[in-house]
């Protein structure tokens, strides 16, 4: 085994790694994929059809493990899937709430499914407002890859003709519910867009995968594969090729380096035996997600690469960005008080969105640069969380909970941070994880620009509730950094090898057979979610690798 040389090793099987290994296997390469956790079995591991009373702690989780649960996606329903074993540390003053899914397929097993394309407003943001740098490529160059991804995975939405949100190739959209119609009317009055989200969820059967059955518990995993995830959508074909070997519980430790400085393979820890194993390949693709990908590169020190492989720029780990999440407004729509309940929660809140409407024509119109998006939520959900806003007890309390049930609404914001020298990942000088691998250390704080977006979003959402005829009941708090799971940066792409780790194809400037296929190559964080773009850029990078492979340039 140990002297076998694969064509490629792919570290990680989430969106980025999954797309890369799919592309490489389909083209005839032999691939060994390393995955830090185990495989999931939908019937056993996905509890999306469980009622709370089927769970020992009603879905709230065993309080003794309270600190281990993070909430959204990582909870009693997904017990045993999200992991907390592998240590990371935070610098003094940094708060970082981080749930990680090391299972095969990674976070795609449970993700929020919102899938908007980035546009030139994102790729050329620096040219518009003067801050930071543009991406090395523009929309025209990546658009065909978006189309191919959309055709492959299936994305439901509508053509919306907004320059800030390029339209793609869509399945029929999800239908608007009563709360959407009311909020849409309110949004129209105050000039805020309220539109069907772009959602990687099948509104009709597609490429052999069945249409959604609208049970509503998407973030507990899907047992019919009706939204995009690597295990349902990419792995079956890749495995059918006979050229894919997936090693599970294989925690990547460092990249192995040949005498000429190129990548020659990967050393990983077999978590079952705690033994270190080395495997070799002609090319290595790192797709372990931003923080872990940076950690692997920084921990790959050698005579050639004393500061970590592919780090001649000193930029590995730098420029960490994240999405600020938080509930910007809560309230209820009196029109719906006491009305019969309606199946509002058929898609875990991803039906409509309020795509960025700030700084579109004039990039400096607001007090902040760039912009944010908002997702609405509400209606008849699994738990009447709004009870806190109803005083008292007894018959009146119970009656008001029932009356309010179809009417409650809330909004949460997705606001990108901007790069700064203060937000980055390095290696903790003393702490190691249980396998002896030096831990990643996170340095992060919200920047002023993002906090201005938060204030703006709170005000806009309050106005929206009022314009919709609703009662406004206040705003929530900002979630701690890390909550969104939308880290970007750390291995940014750009043309200048002195300033960027990767080139426009996601290949490291320093090491020609080392590619990065996750959101760590993104030069900035946008108002949009990351997965669709990870898939598109990973596809493009993997095809670039193939091209070089066939030219024997690796």
């Amino acid at each position: 085994m140990s002297n076998k040389i694969y064509d490629a090793i792919v570290i990680g099987t989430g969106a980025g790694g999954g797309m890369a290994l799919h592309t490489l296997c389909q083209a005839g390469l032999t691939v060994c994929a390393l995955n830090a956790g185990r495989r999931l079995h939908p019937k056993k591991d996905f509890r999306n059809h469980k009622q709370p009373y089927d769970m020992p702690f009603r879905g709230f989780g065993d309080p003794r493990k309270g600190k281990d649960y993070i909430g959204y996606m990582d909870n009693e329903y997904s017990e045993g899937i999200w992991e907390h074993e592998i240590a990371f540390t935070t610098a003094p003053g940094t708060e970082w709430t981080w749930r990680r899914c090391f299972a095969v397929g990674g976070k795609t097993n449970f993700w929020g499914r919102s899938s908007a394309r980035f546009g030139d407003i994102d790729f050329k943001a620096a040219s518009r407002d003067g801050y930071d740098v543009d991406w090395p490529i523009g929309y025209q160059e990546i658009a065909p890859y978006y189309s191919r991804i959309e055709r492959l995975i299936g994305v439901a939405s509508t053509v919306q003709n907004r320059a800030a949100n390029p339209d793609g190739e869509y399945l029929p959209p999800m239908n608007f519910r009563c709360i959407d119609r009311i909020l849409e009317s309110g949004a129209n009055k105050i000039g805020i867009p309220y539109l069907p989200d772009r959602i990687a969820q099948l509104t009709r059967s597609h490429n052999g995968r069945p249409a959604c059955h609208y049970c509503g518990n998407c973030t507990e995993g899907c047992d019919t594969g009706s939204f995009f995830s690597t295990p349902w959508c990419l792995l079956p074909e890749a495995e059918k090729s006979g050229r894919l070997e997936i090693r599970t519980n294989a925690l990547a430790k460092n990249i192995l380096v040949a005498s000429d400085g190129r990548a020659s393979g990967v050393a990983y820890i077999d978590r079952a035996t705690k033994q270190e194993v080395e495997i070799h390949a002609r090319a290595v693709v790192v797709a372990a997600s931003c923080v872990e990908s940076a950690r692997i590169l920084l921990n790959s020190k050698s005579r050639h690469w004393p500061a970590g492989i592919a780090n001649s720029s000193g930029q590995v780990g730098r420029n960490l960005c994240d999405h600020l999440y938080g509930t910007t407004a809560r309230g209820y729509l009196p029109q719906l008080l006491g009305q019969p309940s309606f199946p509002d929660n058929v898609s875990s809140s991803t039906i409509a969105w309020l795509p960025r409407w700030q700084n579109l024509t004039n990039p400096r119109e607001e007090k902040f640069i760039r912009g944010y998006s908002v997702y609405p939520d509400g209606g008849c959900a699994g738990f009447p969380g709004y009870f806190e806003t109803i005083p008292g007890f007894g018959r009146g309390f119970k009656r008001e909970i029932k009356r309010r049930y179809p009417a409650s609404v809330s909004f949460y914001v997705q606001a990108p941070t901007q790069r700064s020298d203060e937000n980055y990942v390095d290696i903790d000088p003393t702490v190691k994880d249980v396998y002896g691998i030096p831990a990643a250390r996170i340095h992060f704080a919200w920047d002023k620009n993002t906090l201005l977006m938060w204030e703006h979003a709170k005000h806009a959402c309050e106005q929206l509730i009022r314009a919709s005829g609703g009662e406004y009941l206040g705003a929530g708090e900002i979630d701690t950094p890390g909550t969104s799971l939308h880290e970007t940066g750390t291995l940014r792409m750009g043309d200048d090898p002195r300033k960027f780790v990767t080139d426009r194809f996601g290949r490291t400037h320093d090491v020609p057979n080392l590619y990065i296929c996750d959101a760590s190559v993104f030069p900035n964080c946008t108002d949009k979610t990351t997965t669709l773009s990870i898939l598109a850029f990973s596809l493009r990078s993997a095809e670039h690798l193939l091209e070089n492979f066939s030219r024997k340039a690796l």
Binding site: K43, R47, H49, Q51, P52, Y53, D54, M55, P56, F57, R58, F60, D62, P63, R64, G66, M174, N175, F176, R177, C178, D180, R181, I182, S185, S205, P210, A211, H213, Y214, C215, N217, D223, T224, L333, Q335, L336, L337, Q339, P340, S341, F342, P343, N345, V346, S347, I351, C380, G382, P384, F387, F393, G394, R395, K398, R399, I401, K402, Y405, G469
Partner: protein, 186 residues
């Protein structure tokens, strides 16, 4: 239905099978939350609270979510849920026990219903933190049972062949909906 394609039927059959065979092992523990099963659980032995505390807890939860047109907290076994959670959560054991002690000191169980409600109103003012804790756990315990979810007419975890659509096409602002029918929700 037009969009009930063969693969959709196959999916629904598959889902039905999954639902039938994959009961969580802990299910029987909570079967008392089903009204029909409740009598079987009459002999529930509290894990944390004393018999007297438990009796008090049952009555307090029923005051917070009483039986009206739909079953109340007692019917839904809310005290059992709270006992189970508190038994597993040392962080709230002291607060629960001392709060119940405050109520017990007022000879609560011997009072008439109206006096009990007055007493609970007094606790709400004098011990707002305990009241909030008690009320939160009662709501959590009630609306996570079949009884509680049915009381809300929870529409989830059903299967649909198309994404449900607002039926009020001509009334986007929903200004002209018929008034709620049940006197319970006037």
């Amino acid at each position: 239905m037009a969009n009930q394609s063969p693969d959709r039927r196959a999916v629904l059959e598959m889902l039905a099978k999954v639902a039938a065979v994959s009961q969580f092992p802990g299910f029987s523990r909570w079967s008392f939350s089903d009204e029909n099963e409740h009598s079987k659980a009459a002999g529930y032995r509290p894990q944390f609270f004393s018999a007297a505390e438990y009796e008090l807890l049952e009555q307090l939860s029923e005051l917070i979510i009483p039986r009206d047109e739909t079953p109340g907290a007692r019917d839904a076994g809310v005290a059992e849920f709270i006992d189970h959670i508190v038994a597993h959560d040392p962080a709230i054991q002291f607060q629960f026990r001392s709060g119940l002690g405050l109520v017990a000191a007022k000879d609560f169980m011997t009072l008439r219903l109206e006096k009990q409600e007055d007493t609970l109103r007094g606790i709400q003012l004098s011990s707002p933190a305990f009241f909030k804790l008690l009320r939160s756990y009662t709501v959590m315990g009630y609306y996570t049972t079949r009884i509680g979810l049915e009381a809300l007419d929870y529409p989830g975890l059903r299967f649909y062949s198309a994404s449900p659509e607002c039926p009020h096409k001509d009334d986007p602002e929903h200004k002209h909906l018929p008034p709620p029918r049940s006197p319970n929700v006037q």
